[in-house]
Subunit: 176 residues, 2 copies
DNA sequence: ATAGGTATGTTACGTTATAACTACCGAGAC
DNA sequence: GTCTCGGTAGTTATAACGTAACATACCTAT
């Protein structure tokens, strides 16, 4: 009851983090990440880049241990801290987001822009799409400030059923 | 980096889940819970009631294991499933909310009403206040539906610094 | 070359959550 | 009565998620 979980493989969903399809899309995202890190003078090391790539290539957002499994299957050494440190870096750079309700990580679609962290999470297939409404973000800040609350970060997670899964009628959970 | 954590004792904060102060407030909430469960023909058992009471009495929202510790110190038998099952019931009845970013649980302030699940979470003291803006909730639904997404539940968590902690200048984390 | 910083490897552990099975208890069927 | 059925709770074990602490490697600036 506490977390959103899913389990098997599937087709496609519009405007979604449906990686593993377009290598081109992934390559573009990785280049963008390189560019940003260079501009910021931070180190997108091979490991960090690879973790980002794994996330980008996942059909549904992977958890830390799913990422770790992939690193291991690369033949690379690894333990949980390996992944969590890379994730901390990527989170810090705004290159990935953490989905708190599901303990998974998604690549940010527009890492150069401001960071709202608003997501639609499909219960059926596990896929996540970004909402990214500035209006919403403003509304939240405004409401918080009415209570003299100083906002650091926002987190909006909408849980339900994506367009594709509604059509297909039944759950079609995706592998992580 | 992944979760919000806190640690020590403190003063008060307006419009907040600052339980342990007013027994009367807690009693009212418990009676309301009884009433709702009767109306719904669901069982607010002694255990479930006690878990709700523990949450209501906590200065800052407790995690499952903090609740478990209190159950044990009541002299009651207990293991994690004891708590998680009670929490599942209370979550299902809308009597408590889960704060995903911190893995803690808060009592709902208006369990009879609709359920937005919008919170202000203070990094310093760990206390959580409910936002409860229908306008916000509508805006989120609207935005989601623009993408043909069928909304089940929403989750808004705003992380920052509460009014009291801003004034006091420094962190004053509260005990769970 | 070596001292200092950053990144990663490694071991161990802490925290959060669930699976699976057992036991108990109350209500209705008979 | 007692049977059995559904729901609640006890119990054991383990899965899943995350971090602390320390060792190592590597780069680079003096």
């Amino acid at each position: 009851m506490l977390a959103i979980r899913t389990a098997v493989p599937v087709p496609a969903m519009a405007h979604t983090h449906r990686r593993g399809k377009s290598k081109a899309h992934v390559q573009r995202a990785l280049q963008e990440a390189e560019r940003l890190c260079q501009a910021r003078n931070t180190q997108l090391t091979e490991l960090r880049r690879r973790v980002l790539e794994i996330i980008l290539n996942s059909e549904a957002p992977p958890g830390a241990y799913a990422i770790l499994d992939q690193l291991k299957s690369d033949g690379r050494a690894g333990a949980p801290p390996t992944v969590y440190r890379a994730l901390d870096f990527l989170l810090g750079e705004g290159l990935v987001h953490r989905i708190a309700s599901a303990n998974v990580f998604v690549a940010c679609l527009h890492p150069a822009d401001s960071h709202s962290s608003q997501f639609l999470i499909c219960k059926d297939c596990g896929r996540i799409s970004e909402l990214d409404s500035q209006a919403l973000s403003y509304a939240i800040n405004e409401r918080a400030e009415q209570q003299d609350f100083k906002v650091d970060t926002q987190l909006v997670e909408v849980i339900g059923h994506c367009s594709a899964c509604q059509k297909s009628g039944s759950a079609q959970p995706v592998s992580h």
